[in-house]
Amino acid sequence: MDIKLPLTDEIVEKLHAGDDVRFTGVIYTARDAAHRRMVEALDKGESLPFDIHGQVIYYVGPTPAKPGQVIGSAGPTTSMRLDRFTPSLLAAGLKGIIGKGGRGQEVRDALKQYKGVYFIAVGGAGALLARHIKKVDIVAYEDLGTEAVRRLEVEDFPAIVCNDIYGGDLLQEGKARYKLSVT
């Protein structure tokens, strides 16, 4: 399914765990240090470095761009590390997240509560995924280097719906489907 960003309730209502999607539009990068700062800003009642309503955050810390490249290799990082920050951002209007690996119960509950979707991209396919990133601008926390918040313009960026708004969970369902009993 092709998705034009930003996300809306109408779009996320159509998504189910296991669906293949391709994003075109703007996504924002943020990982550990940037999340800490964003959640601290929210706690103090300050505004975030970008309007988060309907937006998608991609957990990525790219390699430096080589001359002539827009961005270096840019695959997803482990999402679990961001679990403690995610419910606050979903409450603030975040609609989608791209990472890798499973999420804790608190995030799965928050996705249902705030109608957000967690997507996974293929971890370790950073060179390939970077090809779908057409433009990069640093929007905040430049001092964080690879962890700064970047605004990415993406085209047909491939991802898979992992946790939908209905409680569907691709990792749990997939494991149950393929588990074998070995004596």
Partner: protein
Amino acid sequence: MRDIDCQTIKETLARLCQEATAYLPEDVLQALKEARQKEESPLGQKILDQILENAELARKEMLPLCQDTGTTVVFLEIGQDAHIVGGNLSDCIAEGVREGYDKGYLRKSIVDKPFSARVNTKDNTPPVVHTEIVPGDKLKIQVMPKGGGCENMSRLAILLPAEGKKGVTDFVLRAVEEAGGNPCPPIIVGVGIGGTAEMAMSLAKKALTRKVGKPNADAETAELERELLEKVNALGLGPQAVGGRITALALHVEVHPTHITSLPVAVNIQCHSARLKEAVL
């Protein structure tokens, strides 16, 4: 006695860092292609296709396979008749890493003050260096850029001797299952059994340097590897843990004698981007 110059070691390190991060080893590539044939899950197949396409693109254009260009783990086998000249060995290894990560446009992921300020050292140093003295007059250098996603899933247990093979099996399966999609399956599982606590983990890491799927020379250990791999793949995690037949490409076990009261077992996981490059000087 044979002289080996520090400058040569440094240049070799710089080259190995750049090549290791862009060129997936042939044995890993082969294992991934076989996994693609065997995988039954449609999503798992698509993921393996992307992984293979990524490897081809990275090789063709000399791009980092993964944005996490890792902690630089360096294995040295130093011949006892080799003589390192022209500098301090640790310094020249660090300089090689610094140069490789700079020239290769690789990500610098190492932070100092790990429990407090976490300040990036900005050149990916210091590397983690394992040294072994061996017969001969050569120096073998292996560079393994080790990603955080899989390294963070390492597990160590000191089992009771009475727990035996079943205890080892249960521990390995639990480590892989709990790791889920975090270490980027299909993974390679390194298992170290015996020795002391630090040696078991070191064996588990060393197990990851073996050619993918090459069985242990000891028949009993090779049999354990086969059994464990079958059980790991029966977990059903599959590529990126979306469900599937291929959770691990291989499982390697290294064993060492241990104390009469102990049964240490360590698990060190490698992601599908199992980067490793070596040179012999």
